[in-house]
Symmetry: C2
Subunit: 400 residues, 2 copies
Amino acid sequence: MICQKMLELGKNKSQMRELFEYGLAQAAVVGKENVFDFSIGNPSVPPPDAVGDAFVEVLNEPPLKTHGYTPAVGCDEARDAVAKHLSKLLGRKFSRRNIYITCGAAAAVMASLKGLCIDHETEFIVFAPYFPEYRCYVESAGAILKVVPADTDDFQINFDALEKAISPHTQGVIVNTPNNPTGAVYKKDVLMRLGDLLRAKSKEYGHTIYIISDEPYRELVYDNIEVAFVPDYYEDTIVCYSYSKTLSLPGDRIGYMCVPDTMHDFDEVCWATAGAARAMGYVCAPAIMQKVIARCADVPANLAVYAHNRKLLYEGLTNMGYDCVYPDGAFYLFVRAPWGTAKEFCACAKKLNVLIVPGDDFGCPTHFRTSYCVNPDTIERALPLFEQLIANAPDGSDKV
Amino acid sequence: MICQKMLELGKNKSQMRELFEYGLAQAAVVGKENVFDFSIGNPSVPPPDAVGDAFVEVLNEPPLKTHGYTPAVGCDEARDAVAKHLSKLLGRKFSRRNIYITCGAAAAVMASLKGLCIDHETEFIVFAPYFPEYRCYVESAGAILKVVPADTDDFQINFDALEKAISPHTQGVIVNTPNNPTGAVYKKDVLMRLGDLLRAKSKEYGHTIYIISDEPYRELVYDNIEVAFVPDYYEDTIVCYSYSKTLSLPGDRIGYMCVPDTMHDFDEVCWATAGAARAMGYVCAPAIMQKVIARCADVPANLAVYAHNRKLLYEGLTNMGYDCVYPDGAFYLFVRAPWGTAKEFCACAKKLNVLIVPGDDFGCPTHFRTSYCVNPDTIERALPLFEQLIANAPDGSDKV
């Protein structure tokens, strides 16, 4: 007798993790250079030098301070640094009270969901394609996941479908821009329309519908694209951020929740999300990482390699006839399978040791995800294999 | 509309946190040297030198490896180091497969509870006095907390009460030895009797009753007392460990779950606890801390100051007439309030800036907890205040 739901979650790893671990095993068999692993979003550029300097500085501080418990909400210096950075970046006023330092964005999203979930009828909406762990998080919070189908033309929001998905039980909508897996950045008019719709629906149902804005890729954008700040378009937004991608610290688990002053039930939302973090055993975010972030909140991401890779992979694939929306941010291409289902296509790719993720778990089984946070050489050497794959639809497969 | 339960947890901090934060504020008013803060278990000795050396070594490794995602279960080097340490320490064979590296013991306990909780009737048993966050964790996992009253004579187990508390819905028993707040270490015959009882009850009800053994204080014991390893007495035990106290790294959040090979449903328990960690957004334990632990799993705790403090405070208080069981481990004294309720007594102490925690939230309102992980000077200067407190029962209070 054990929790079957948890057992399934532990036994069946995410497709991405599964592929990543397959790649490691396969590298031992055929050689690392012969495995083309586009499976996971593990940054391929080292952290900026400022991060290393910050570690040295922090480790020279009195150790009881460096490694001691911090308040659950985070130490003052980290909260102040984040608030100052956001104020400067966004031209809005943030202070310590808006910032809760978390163990990465996953913890922030979980605390938001669990803090907002009222009962087993509570619903949260996601837009396909969506990060597959959202399903796991929403259900773990005790709520129901509702999926709005993808608009594969530009991966902005399918508003007709969204309107149908909203119900009196809707407590929140998870927004992820820049998006994993498409790299799409929501346009301002899209966010404006989203805000208007949620405001109207909140009024209609007599309770606030929240946005949970999951933004680990906020700074990973190209061609000077501006990423709109979701709370500027909808006041009842909880921002969830992680330094995993921008500062290349994914394993170290550090990020934050930002609850802006515009939140109608500011105190209640702060309390409930803090209570949820407490109830899951998140005593505080890793103290040493808090102190590093206090020194690095302003440090820009190193985008050069990703920008190069984006162009290389996008042009390489589209020149061969692959169909793909040019991504404005993150480090993924979301590509339509040129024949068969994405699952079938990815299975064939796997035989060539090209590891790409079918879109099924993202709620979009026509596409596959390639992560281009890899060595450019990996892309260059994989392109002939992609060429081979598109040319060789197995008999009976529908060519798109 | 928000989750009221989470709101309450976020709004009403634990008594200990509340007192600790009061102490910080009060220090600003009356001077740090005039606040005698015995409220929380924040280690007062710095981490051993080996920890500092390990940080330097780890930060000199390739940064993508140091800071990258690890498998959810932890990186091989940390799991291997822990397994090797436990094998040597306990004369049993452990390997990587028994170890899941976690974000501290709180995350390990939560993953265990959530992995084992079957439905809303599931019950977990704790022995008073118990760490108050257990209530929060058990209820957050969706289960019911049942409290076995304290045996205040020696703070071992009250078996008559335990037997009455076990029901067909009992999924687990949380054991915490060395104990917070009493410092008691369970004797071997007590654990043997506990094992026998749980084996009989598991058989009677046709399902395994698990022990969740929360052991952050395992190495914090005095006078060469031996701490029995709970799985030696009961095979279906999940061990939850933290380096917070022994290596003075409480803020950095690093520990592990150990599922021994003797566990009857080994695979299922591993999967379910892993699934629960995943479902709460614990992507992996902080990577840099995993690498530090890989180098420090064998490093002994520095007990000298705590041993000195234990004697100083225990003798000081008992010589004045306070009633207290001499603790074998941890860094707490659990003292009977000499008059009134512990709450009343602690409120009077607070007026003298002596911050001690009433036992109410520990399920034992006759006692208060003092943490002696403080500067010895703090104890010496506080003793006259304790003398003043015991002598001055307010009119109408019952003297014990």
